[in-house]
Symmetry: D2
């Protein structure tokens, strides 16, 4: 239980370091009879690949996933789905100068404190590279969800402090976007740089990134994940609520510092009469709840937003300490992202897919006697 | 796994409805040899009792906890700690008019969808009353944490949109409070109305509540939980991070709509060079991380903030539907809170205590070989 | 996770000591919509009560169970089912002479080693009295199983070394009984002393117990549990097989020293051609497998047998040590059983009910896509 | 939770089919700082390899394990240990005649019932080949146990109905072997054919196997696993006892039909005065308990025995049905074992190693406050 498994019935277990032979894992609990092949998974992986977006790392990895088990003649068999992704571009460069330094904002210092030993090559297990395995698991989950009519999408709603309010005529006022459903066709969204929630944001954000890059600095942003078609009834109250599990899933991605559902932090400033979503014969009149009431899905779209901190590896010189506690100057070389966005977007989507599939199976386990 | 157990090694399992015989549960995994008696637990329970704060329900419950097992001659024995709290003031009033209506913002409609049946009396299992059991579990956890030198406190930093910036000369600028450590003596804080982060806020908030009450409306707020003395090394990366578990714990409390750690959502708008906490020989120079790096505690104080939505039971008339989907007017009577604060504050503290104790045990299970 | 919870989806959590206020627990994961009341549970509890069988303790406990939650108007609501059973006859006698001695065959010495403290009154948590909670959980499970057409029964097939071969004309040769299905009507079995597998065994066993009692000694026996109506498909291979879960459930009852399924240990001496159960168009021709193949139920009856050791509390004087390691003479007074049978029989049945309900829910969680 | 993970804190998750690309898994929860390399694991794997013993399959697999993560410069880092073993000799023969038949004694029929689909090539996931992954996990666990001074060994005490009583002058009377500690030096045992508990048994068993092979039939046997150096205190009563977990571990290996601890089934026929292990100042005077009292280790050696059924794949013609329920004649070709022994012996040892490591971590998590 040292933290490499996610989920209860639909479970993802992962392994792998940034500079070892590769990364992989096991998807367990996938129902039998789901059509699945490597191309479906590869498509999702390709969306988080280095070089896909603007301002990302120059590390080259083809990230080719190989399924090892659990699929027979194109269909899941109900047994464990093993998978592996080889590390290709793990340059055997000299880590000498960096290996004893603790990079600010990174997990170097905490891994050392926890384990007394760490694989310092490229962050080892704490590298963002581990998220490839989450995307694989999420891609399998997505196929299960599709059979239940559930569709998850994720978009960037703010980058470097610039959000939807910057887009003239976007029609999405700032204090409403939290609870609105993105009207974009998913395909358009998936192919748009940054997975931007609005096409006019792309150029603005590209300019912002150029400026910040020239300053040797980095940026954060806010990502919104939505799930359409979620039936009412998912979530296990009282101590395993759907929104709690979603928060767990999303806060568990590196660089995420906040999670809110529906109106989120804005709800803390509303009056009850405004925040309550009226229930009409035709359905809910608003979605400040974000699709969850009492920890159980309401049948409305799930709307959840995530704060992503700026990449800690900046090009500027920083002061830090080495393992002996002595002050040192740190200069991080080369090929790092300016912003975790857009690469984190498919990862956040994957975590929601994993969570919803798990909650769907949990709900179905017990839901049959009463219907 | 229908959601009534929290934790992996230090586990709280609860039961009970608002209007049944009572509520109770089992604390499992508590180490042997911890001094514990009912008074220690009662003190925490008394802090969330109805009538303790301003603007709270008029329901009268003494909330007397009785320990049923697991403690022998004042010391835990390592066996399961059973406890029970009787419901006293569960008026057998006529629920006729309410029992078929779905109250907006409540879990009536989702419980009905999930289970096809619900105990409609006072919210049944979805009543906020279930949180008494969390406070009991948290109180036991607090004693374990005390032996490890860990101290958790919680305070209200914003209510009805009015936060620390409203306090002249408070010395806590708005964009810093997220990461500052409250300087109040814990005892002062614990006895202050609203568990307000600053004494001057009390009167301002009382005025705000009076106004809103007169309008038949309700309020939300923001609570900050801090943990001092947390050693570096707690948290199980990659898929069971400390911040993920804290988000799970806190988002799992009814009325919570958002969770952020350290700089939180503000971090999404910072530059990397600003957000990074420099590491100096004397320790970290700031705490934008909120005490967690890579999912593992850094040794700094944990700082986590929670958005609490306004109470959905407002005095105003509302439109809703009944179980048959017909439109109905809803008028909720009597004795309800204006704001979940201050009663939710001890609950949020309890959830952090439960989480940290669990993570402490998890860490210790494996941490012995390397030291 | 200190061992007071059983199950994954259908979960029983228990607490309570022999001489505290009482015992109780929580049944979590029970589907909504199951008819349930205290009388159904009481009927099962009455079957393991002191004084029910021959050769049992003289401790008088009415063992009245009280449901605290999870049932509304006679039907389960899907929420946690809390229950409590008060200890009535926990004589506040002087434990002085016994409290520092380790009774041979009991858990006194191991609890002391594990926890450094123990509730020495009547065995505390290690008392056989804890099994009342298992029977409550099993009784709830039984109602779920009934809705799925599954029926579990348990009978004693051997006591004090005397088994079915002692019964002239019983028609059940010794080496076949492992796999035969008991032909007794369940009601007859449930009301027969010892829950004896054959009526003629009762008198023989009564004589045996009388003799052994007069010698101040105690006896063991063998219990067979069968489950009819189990559909093919239950069990989660490879590392959570149905037979593994059954062995876990049954070996986890105090006094059990062995578990075998189908032909069991006899299978180790058979040839493959004899042990294999031929598959015919009409079904399996024999049941040496005991109803499980590859860890998954085959659709045949489950047949599992359990070895129960003699009660360690004998009337004879024994030599032992005290907590300081000094040799002491031990004389255990009064009111103890001669044999764990028949009181353990309902407990073993309950454990199988709990296991099957859990495996049924686990299977159903994933089984819907392929059908 | 479809059964591909074993353990709570020290966890093994596996995947892989008999005729896919290979098998592998993840060992999670291994403490940091343990010396580990592929040779240590390979040594254990080589002990279960085809061709190692007499009467085993002719399938040739080098079973070379490759570690993918979790080890850095020869030491565990506390992160997930991924591993992979390629299938080499998975002949792409024509499965046409066999693919629709249900082999008696195999899991073909139950996998089909459970999943509605199965990888019929060589048993797919239900192949005994999956046990390579258990051996890998057990080998890692063994290194952890070694640091705690715990040593696990396994030997065959009976094969084809011929046990230790057949060995003249063996000095180990039949009814005592259950509780005696094997005096063989572990190294001698590990290198002896069949891992025979006594050297004189080897020739007798070889003769027996020759005869049975010539008849086209197969054999079972009994394996005893012992653990020396287990400290008192391991095991989580009441519902997660050490003996329950051991029974779960061992009954969860394919072909195992019974598990007994200490005196086991013989205890059911003993008097209490005989079965009780007297406690003397110098320690226990006997070990009928098998090293567990009340579900907690007593400090004595663990002694547990396992019944292994004969291999179901016999050379003789059998009658069975196909997937459509029509009667068919079955002739299983070629290269199958006569007896699961000796290849199952390292697997059973591995399962005990996995279980003890898990229980050791569980115990240590809570055991620190009281010491």
């Amino acid at each position: 239980m040292s933290g490499n498994t996610f989920g209860r019935l639909f479970r993802l277990t992962t392994f792998g370091e940034s500079h070892g032979p590769g990364l992989g894992g096991v998807v367990d609990g996938c129902p039998a009879g789901i059509a699945l092949d490597e191309r479906m998974i590869q498509r999702e992986l390709d969306r988080r690949k280095p070089g896909q977006g603007f301002g990302t790392t120059s590390r080259r990895e083809s990230d080719q996933v190989r399924l090892m088990s659990g699929v027979f003649e194109g269909t899941t068999t109900g047994t464990a789905i093993g998978f592996f992704i080889a590390n290709e571009d793990h340059r055997s460069r000299d880590y000498g100068p960096l290996q004893h330094l603790f990079r600010p904002g990174h997990a170097d210092i905490t891994y050392q404190a926890k384990y007394g030993i760490r694989d310092y090559r490229g962050g080892g297990r704490s590298s963002g590279r581990e998220t490839v395995c989450r995307v694989v698991g999420g891609a399998v989950a997505q196929e299960v969800l599709a059979m239940a009519g559930i569709f998850v999408s994720a978009s960037t709603v703010e980058l470097g402090g610039i959000g939807l309010e910057a887009v003239a005529g976007s029609g999405i006022p700032r204090d409403r976007d939290a609870v609105s459903v993105d009207a974009d066709a998913p395909d358009a969204l998936q192919n748009r740089p940054f997975f931007a929630a609005h096409p006019d944001l792309v150029e603005i954000w590209e300019d912002r990134i150029k400026t910040v890059r020239s300053q040797g600095d980095t940026l954060g942003g806010i990502v919104e994940v939505q799930a359409q078609g979620v039936p009412a009834g998912l979530g296990e109250p009282v101590l395993d609520k759907l929104d709690a599990r979603l928060a767990y899933a999303l806060m568990g991605v590196g660089a995420v510092k906040g999670v809110e559902i529906g109106a989120g932090f804005a709800a803390a400033r509303m009056l009850g009469s405004t925040n309550n979503d009226p229930i009409l014969p035709a359905g809910f009149a608003s979605n400040n709840s974000g699709g969850v009431l009492g920890g159980i899905s309401s049948g409305q779209p799930l709307v959840i937003r995530v704060a992503v901190k700026p990449i800690p590896s900046i090009a500027r010189s920083q002061v830090t300490v080495d393992q002996d506690g002595h002050e040192q100057e740190l200069r991080i070389g080369g090929r790092h992202d300016i912003c975790a966005i857009p690469r984190i977007v498919p990862v956040l989507k994957a975590m929601v897919c994993l969570t919803l599939t798990d909650m769907l199976l949990l709900h179905r386990a017990a839901a049959q006697w009463q219907s």
